[in-house]
């Protein structure tokens, strides 16, 4: 069973080395790939120094394209399972290991780490969403649940584990603009088993959130369009 953990990173030189070290400690059996999304700082160098393999996109392509690079790499190189987590230190690698265990036990094709799931326990220093993020989250949660007829609590979580069926699908179809939500809808529509697992998340170690209220509103609007269009995409596209 070969496992790949990949980390999409865009200008995360501060937090990334710590994240890499934590992942190595928590999931020693996995190969590690950092997808450097056209960073202008020393992200790639820091990642190499920390011992990770680095795939550098020549220019910033957005989170979706970076994640797709990871899925494509995992598929091409014959990994049985892969997982990804954010580079800013919000995602404890021990939790990623739990997601991977679900996939390797073949209980699900795609496992999402949810910070809002009922089972997720809050402790001090843990993740506290801002007001605008809470609104966006509940809107997406409602519409995605409506669209997929499956309950999702954390639609924008960047902590996921997947098997080869998902790699094959996502390496072909992954929206660069609205990756998180559309990919969930797509996976469910393709008949894949998507599961949410309650996880702990931490406050970000470096960088700041890109969400301002206006951006959030635009983000939500874009998401709804994506979901609506996604409902009319063909089902069961040949993926492998």
């Amino acid at each position: 069973m070969r496992t790949l953990v990949f980390i999409p990173a865009w200008n995360e030189e501060a937090a990334l080395p710590g994240v890499i070290a934590d992942v190595r400690k928590a999931i020693p059996e996995a190969d590690l790939l950092v997808v450097d999304d056209g960073s202008t700082d020393a992200t790639a160098e820091r990642a190499r120094e920390a011992g990770a393999l680095v795939a550098s996109l020549p220019f910033n392509q957005g989170l979706g394209a970076a994640l797709q690079t990871g899925y494509l790499y995992a598929l091409r190189n014959g990994y049985d399972a892969c997982a990804h987590l954010d580079a800013d230190g919000q995602h404890p690698p021990e939790e990623v290991a739990r997601l991977l265990a679900e996939v390797t036990a073949d209980r699900a094709d795609l496992v999402i780490g949810s910070r809002y799931h009922a089972g997720a326990v809050a402790a001090s220093g843990d993740y506290r969403p801002t007001f605008s993020r809470r609104i966006g989250t509940s809107v997406f949660r409602f519409f995605l649940t409506l669209a997929t007829r499956q309950r999702f609590t954390d639609t924008t979580s960047g902590m996921r584990a997947a098997n080869r069926r998902v790699m094959a699908l996502f390496s072909q179809h992954y929206s660069p603009d609205f990756a998180e939500i559309e990919s969930l809808q797509l996976a469910v529509r393709q008949g894949l088993r998507v599961e949410e697992l309650p996880v702990r998340m931490l406050e970000r170690a470096g960088g700041s959130s890109f969400l301002t209220p206006l951006r959030s509103a635009f983000f939500i609007f874009k998401g709804l369009v994506v979901l609506l269009v996604g409902q009319f995409r063909p089902r069961h596209v040949e993926t492998e």
Partner: protein, 150 residues
């Protein structure tokens, strides 16, 4: 320009032969420009068809001014000026949309190209690293097998 020439005159039903000649010359010059752009590799043939059709349309309008009135009456528009502007506007709108579609396709292609290059470079780096210090060599030698899977 040609369009403006048409528009100014079309309402009067009869274009003077002078305006018709000017319009026809403009249309011809326009088409020659397209040809020259293709010749200099500044415009690809597959994107030139639409512009040729536009040039032919101008030429047809200059040669047969009655055509416009036929089209206008088909549209149910009494004023030929309005008909002309509506048609041109719709065509330009369609063209702009066509460009957005092409742009989206090319953006997707560029993304895939960037991804392929990033992956290839990472693999080359991994191979070089494995050759350099000899550690985990057998792990890095096997990956190529499943390349054609997707």
């Amino acid at each position: 320009m040609t369009v403006l020439v048409f528009a100014a005159e079309a309402g009067q039903v009869h274009l003077t032969s002078q305006t018709r000649i000017v319009a026809a010359v403009l249309a011809l010059v326009f088409m020659l420009m397209i040809l020259e752009l293709i010749r200099r590799d500044r415009l690809q043939e597959r994107y030139s068809v639409i512009w040729f059709v536009a040039g032919l349309g101008m030429l047809a309008g200059a040669a047969f001014p009655g055509l416009l009135e036929v089209v206008a009456s088909l549209m149910g528009v009494r004023n030929t000026n309005v008909a002309l502007f509506s048609i041109v506007l719709l065509l330009l709108l369609g063209l702009a949309l066509n460009f957005s579609v092409i742009m989206s396709r090319q953006a997707a292609q560029i993304t895939r190209l960037a991804q392929e290059r990033a992956i290839e470079k990472a693999l080359a780096e991994k191979r070089a690293g494995a050759n350099g210090n000899g550690s985990s060599a057998e792990e890095t030698l096997e990956p190529k097998k499943e390349r054609l899977e997707s």
